[in-house]
Symmetry: C2
Subunit: 209 residues, 2 copies
DNA sequence: AGCTTAAGTTGCCATGGTTAACATTACCTT
DNA sequence: AAGGTAATGTTAACCATGGCAACTTAAGCT
């Protein structure tokens, strides 16, 4: 074969299968939903045979965990961007964080579903890699809650961990209602967030006492 | 065959397959999770052949919807029990409702997952039967929110629908975190609920102005 | 009794996850 | 450069599952 063929001809070794699979899987999941992702279709879309993926992931769950881990990394970048923005007041920062969270979920529903859904978390099926990527986010949430309490945005009287669970629960709940199309739709994201923030931030006056 | 055989011998016609399937499916789902429910295993457990179910349900989704619908009926009974209990004050009633909701989810995690998860709600895959069973609950939530606002338990200033979405979102979020085992576990249900209720009900003073 | 139809049954097919055995190539050692 | 090894891909095959078709049984009405 001629040298020029190298560009057209498929190499026997893909070269970057692992990453390609994660990327392609992310797209496919966002396009067709988690439950419609099949390793076979995925393999074909990447131009590789059915079982090639098994040389990079122990099984489907492992791949899904990798996709989710990638999602957490992306989410963390957004998170940090808000907290490094010094032009915002404390309250603006909190509001922005809340809005970003819901927006992230609304814009990447299937990815969010994967990241925070039972598919990969139930029955200890989460990978170590995933946990390493995800736990810092949880941790962050608690730390920030402590800060917000100190700033008087959230009630100081509440146990920090519980408060973090509840406030995150609210974001998570709203996100899920949106994603699952239950009882809420994306037309009202802003209003819903505003309402939730009003509930939480109204504590300010009594909390700083 | 003798008359007595009727008790031992399998009848060709099951007699009450539809209900049996829903009941068995509910149990199997609670035992092994939604994703592990297979129509074949289910059929065997009921003592019927693989495809018998198709004479009662158009497909698997249809069966799942029936199970979920049953769940909504069960939940409604609990709901009404609280609201008919006249010995409770308004606030006690609200607290009880909140606690019951989380408890229902914690005690029937898989059923809750099915009822409020994307499996049956995404892509308009919900059955009419299911919608008929479920919508009243959503409706109820809105009506009760209006009442709670009128009673001064929740801020009157907020749009009722948004408030209902947010408060339900919080319950839903907490339930999901518990069920999916993310960041929260069942040891702290009471404390989490208490924290959430404190956030919501603290509005009282400003709301009644 | 006989017809119709609901309710069950077995056979069959496609999809999809996963393992096993084989093929190819990258890469390291000598 | 030659040769060996491990990594990476490939095909074949297995098994579980959802679902359709064609056939069977029996319940129920006329």
């Amino acid at each position: 074969m001629s040298e020029g063929d190298k560009n057209n001809k498929q190499k026997y070794h893909h070269g970057n299968l692992q990453n390609s699979l994660v990327t392609a899987a992310t797209k496919m999941i966002e396009a067709e939903g988690i439950e419609n992702l099949s390793l076979r279709k995925l393999a074909i879309s990447v131009g590789v045979s059915r079982t090639a993926a098994y040389h990079h992931f122990t099984d489907k769950n492992d791949l899904l965990c990798a996709v989710a881990a990638q999602g957490f990394i992306a989410w963390k970048a957004i998170e940090e961007q808000v907290f490094n923005d010094t032009t915002l007041t404390n309250e603006q920062q909190y509001r922005q964080f809340f809005l970003n969270y819901i927006q992230f979920a609304a814009e990447n529903p299937s990815l969010y579903d994967l990241m925070f859904g039972r598919t990969i978390w139930k029955e200890a099926s989460s990978t170590q890699t995933l946990r390493d990527a995800a736990y810092p986010s949880f941790q962050y949430q608690v730390e920030m809650t402590k800060t917000w309490q100190a700033q008087g945005l959230l009630p100081k009287s509440e146990n920090t961990l519980r408060l973090a669970q509840v406030t995150w629960g609210t974001m998570h709940g709203i996100a899920r209602l949106l994603i699952d199309g239950i009882y809420a739709d994306s037309n009202n994201i802003d209003e819903m967030c505003e309402c939730a923030l009003n509930l939480f931030l109204a504590q300010k006056s009594t909390a700083t006492s």
